[in-house]
């Protein structure tokens, strides 16, 4: 099975959820700043990367975990890509699309905008890290649900 975690820019929430899925982050306590910043692609993607499906790793069950940025498509991204898979392959069950946007809070939105769009990396990153820790338990629950559904 292949899992694609998706959010606006594939820089924060999808990376955090994928990191939890891959056991790169601890599920039982909020990750430290260092742990979050050491994740691949965390606060690193830019506008031209939107839509790119990036490999994050293999989980304990040997499943492939990816992340992508879908801009403003929201939950429609999964629907569109499943429609695409039906056209391309005749089936749509090869990939599970996981929308992480419902767990993104206002701090992550503001921090992401400051860091990724306006280039205020230090200030933006500080706000994002606070926001990520606030929603951390929700991301951990989501990743756990995805792992156990397989």
């Amino acid at each position: 099975m292949k899992f694609i975690y998706n959010c606006y820019g594939a820089a924060h929430s999808s990376v955090t959820a994928a990191g939890l899925h891959l056991d790169l982050l601890p599920p039982e306590r909020p990750a430290s700043n260092q742990e979050l910043l050491s994740l691949p692609y965390y606060d690193a993607t830019t506008d031209p990367d939107h839509g790119r499906v990036r490999f994050m790793g293999f989980d304990a069950g040997g499943n492939e975990v990816y992340i992508t940025g879908k801009r403003n498509l929201g939950s429609s991204y999964g629907k569109i890509m499943r429609a695409y898979l039906r056209i391309a392959t005749g089936r749509d069950d090869q990939i599970v699309f996981i929308n992480t946007m419902p767990y993104v809070n206002i701090f992550m939105v503001i921090g992401g905008f400051l860091s990724r769009r306006l280039g205020f990396n230090r200030l933006g990153r500080y706000i994002i890290l606070c926001g990520t820790r606030i929603s951390y338990r929700k991301f951990a629950m989501l990743a756990h649900q995805v792992k156990t559904m397989n």
């Binding site: 839509g51 499906v53 498509l73 990939i95």
Partner: protein, 147 residues
Amino acid sequence: MTKIIFLDQLGCYASLLAASYRTGKIGARPSVREILGLRGFASHRDLSLGYSIYLGLDSEGNQVYTMGTGGEVKVIEVSASDINKILGIRSSLRFVDVSSCNPVAVRVCSYLRLVGPLNKWARYGAAFFLRAAMPRISREVERIEQE
């Protein structure tokens, strides 16, 4: 055989006309009545995306589809290309973005289509405005041959 997918906001306006033109269901200058008679025209029940219609085969035997991808066509093209690599999809697929061929008036009609009493008028209005946009749509379709 190539699968040609025409993309626009909802998959049942400019993309449907382009796909119908490609498959020979309408000519380059269709009447409003012909547009209204197309299967799937303005057939959306809400504004959700991912709506897809199979139109049939074109003269070269390619399968022709429409798909609604909202305003983020580029993101979908990039993701689809990466997913092809991930899944090892070898079948030839071609995206044609005709979302810019939907005039603002058609987009307004697509919203009004969801308002009960205006439903039929909005469908007729969309056909009327798309008829005017048909030269541009046909140019986009003919560009496929040139490329």
